[in-house]
């Protein structure tokens, strides 16, 4: 069979593709820049007229309630403690995940967690490291860690993978 032909009837052919996207973090760019400095920033609505002022982590630049710009607020750094709101052990991820987490020294299976961070009203999805999947539970105390460490040549990925957690 000819190269690139998968089946002849119906005729199915291979279309290889490599594409690069230039992703823009817009007004939440600061969040990812600060992650590389081992700081977790949330955003808070400070509009006195807001009917539902909250602190958002993941951050949003503008308040969904009153549509006013929010203010950045430092909520975490190395070792800040949070609690696991829920978790999931991933054995069979989507394509590209394993290569992606290799960049931050991680491998399957992954423990994906939603973490309640002190001071934030929403929960943030992250990864739990240094923990046997059998030992993770809802309510478990965890500590924030950051991937970038220049001393041991870790480079920030400027993605959500730069923040992870370990058991406290």
């Amino acid at each position: 069979m000819k190269k690139g032909v998968i089946t002849t009837n119906p005729l199915r052919i291979r279309i290889p593709r490599t594409v690069e996207h230039v992703h823009n973090y817009g007004k939440i760019s600061r969040y990812f820049r600060e992650l590389a400095q081992h700081r977790v920033l949330a955003t808070s609505c400070v509009n006195p007229k807001c009917l539902r002022p909250k602190t958002y982590l993941p951050p949003r630049a503008d308040c969904p309630e009153c549509w006013e710009p929010m203010e950045w607020k430092l909520v975490g750094s190395d070792g800040t403690k949070g609690k696991i709101a829920t978790f999931s052990v991933v054995h069979y991820p989507g394509a590209g995940y394993e290569e992606d987490i290799k960049r931050v020294g991680s491998k399957l299976p992954s423990i994906i967690v939603y973490v309640e961070f002190p001071g934030a009203d929403t929960k943030i999805m992250s990864r739990l490291e240094n923990c046997d999947p059998k030992n993770v539970f809802i309510g478990m105390e965890v500590e924030a860690r950051f991937w970038k460490n220049t001393a041991i040549r870790q480079r920030a990925t400027h993605t959500c993978l730069d923040l992870y957690f370990v058991p406290a």
């Binding site: 279309i15 709101a85 999931s88 995940y97 929403t122 999805m125 993605t159």
Partner: protein, 455 residues
């Protein structure tokens, strides 16, 4: 965040389901999207005893098209609506393409209902399809996960099974705290899968007919624990088409028009973790007393969007108690866990008792409210853009008393290269009058609820 009283709208004139048609659903198809849609359309128009003679006369009645395709990534064809529309020779009538993730099919029907109710169009053509076989399953999961927040969540697994599993873990914990054992819940999850694969056996359109045991489901390959491969929906290729019309046009086209008397659409934040606690939105048969201890609703355990859409549709249709008032339901069983959650959001059971809907047998044929007799997303298909349309068709056929016409005829099985099983049995619900179809996206970012009734 908006609440408190949902806006319950009113259709400016009655809207009817006239006819439906589908292709069979498979992991991989020999036909292309537009070819599949044409096949499904032929079934809708030529095999439903319509009172118009042939394609040309039927086409004259239609003045608008609505197309559903979830992800351009999959088919690698943007503006798929144009390709399908002109393949069927509909030009120059107008059309729109709808995209709301897993709820695309349901949303396409919402658009068609709005077009007819407003008086803008008398007969609307609705078609949905998804070409999911151009990439590997792993890549497919990655594409679907592009429907999660790209900045904060997509990278954490690239798998919607995981996003649902995060909800499942919390749901199981909450239920355990309420005194229900892990084994009981696992049995309920397994039974959803067993039931839906089993009903798929009597559906010539279905992709995954099977008789699994509860143990086989519970011990199938772990995808993201506790969800196993048999807890997950299918990735399918196939098309579904239906015709929506005004009262006058519907009665001109068919002897058995079915009224669409409730249309609800709800939403919630894309990221599940962004959902803030709020009071439980009560359905007509519920009271505050039932949920006085609920402080974290909807949390990770419930779908506000489903509840909101159900609230609207039930109020429009005058549904007092869904369990009593409906004769059958098609729900969005993307995962066994979301089936249990949805039973509660839809009011088939009160919150915390979703498992009982399946364990009691109420969800089975012969039960109080047979659910997903098509096999649902786990047993029949999840060709995303077509899914919500397939559900409405299955309800429509049941209410038209046409289930046997489309499922029991050996010729239909043969058409799809299948043999009608020796142990075939009819799943036509006797004297079915009312049904409900639920279409669902994300981890509940969009949900539509349609109620259908025999006039």
């Amino acid at each position: 965040m908006l609440i408190e009283k949902p806006h319950v709208g009113k259709l400016a004139r009655p809207v009817y389901f006239v006819a439906g048609g589908m292709t069979d659903f498979r992991k991989r198809h020999e036909m292309k999207a537009e070819e599949l849609i044409l096949q499904a359309t032929r079934m809708a128009v030529l095999e439903n005893h319509l009172k118009v003679d042939g394609v040309a006369k039927f086409k004259k009645r239609v003045s608008f098209g609505v197309y559903g395709q979830f992800a351009d990534h999959f088919s690698d064809q943007l503006l798929f609506a144009a390709k399908a529309h002109d393949y069927l020779g509909w030009e120059p009538i107008g059309n729109i393409e709808i995209k709301t993730g897993g709820a695309t099919g349901g949303s396409a029907i919402v658009a068609a209902v709005m077009a007819v109710a407003s008086g803008l169009h008398d007969v609307v053509f609705v078609a949905g399809c998804e070409i999911m076989d151009e990439v590997s399953t792993r890549q497919g999961n990655n594409y679907i996960a592009h429907a999660a927040c790209k900045d904060f969540e997509w990278r954490h697994s690239r798998s919607y099974t995981n996003y649902y599993n995060l909800m499942a873990t919390d749901y199981m914990k909450l239920q355990k705290d309420r005194g229900f054992s892990k084994e009981l819940l696992r049995t309920a999850l397994s039974r959803v899968s067993v039931k839906n694969h089993h009903y798929a056996k009597f559906n010539p359109f279905a992709q995954a007919p099977a008789d699994y045991s509860e143990e086989e489901v519970a011990n199938s390959m772990p995808v993201t624990e506790p969800l196993r491969i048999l807890d997950c929906c299918l990735m399918s290729v196939g098309a579904a088409v239906c015709i929506i019309a005004s009262e006058e046009a519907a009665y001109q086209l068919t002897e058995t028009p079915i009224l669409i008397d409730g249309v609800g659409a709800g939403s919630d934040t894309l990221r599940t973790g962004d959902r803030l606690p709020r009071p439980v939105l009560l359905l007509p048969h519920e009271n505050e007393e039932m949920y006085k201890n609920f402080t974290n609703w909807p949390g990770f355990t419930s779908f506000l969007a489903t509840r909101y859409a159900a609230y609207v549709a039930y109020h429009m249709a005058g549904i007092q108690n869904p369990l009593e008032d409906f004769d059958l339901a098609e729900t969005h069983d993307a995962f066994t866990i979301s089936a249990l959650q949805s039973y509660e959001d839809l009011g088939f059971r009160q919150y915390g008792m979703g498992h009982d809907f399946i364990l009691s047998g109420d969800a089975c044929f012969g039960g109080k409210l047979p659910e997903n007799l098509s096999g649902g997303l786990i047993g029949c298909m999840h060709s995303v853009g077509a899914t919500g349309i397939m559900q409405v068709i299955e309800i429509g056929w049941q209410l038209q008393n046409k289930w046997n016409h489309f499922h029991a005829d050996p010729a239909i099985w043969a058409r799809f290269g299948k043999e009608k099983p020796a142990d075939f049995r009819s799943l036509q619900v006797p004297n079915a009058k009312r049904g409900v179809a639920v279409s669902h996206a994300g981890t509940g970012s969009h949900v539509t609820v349609h109620t259908l009734r025999r006039p």
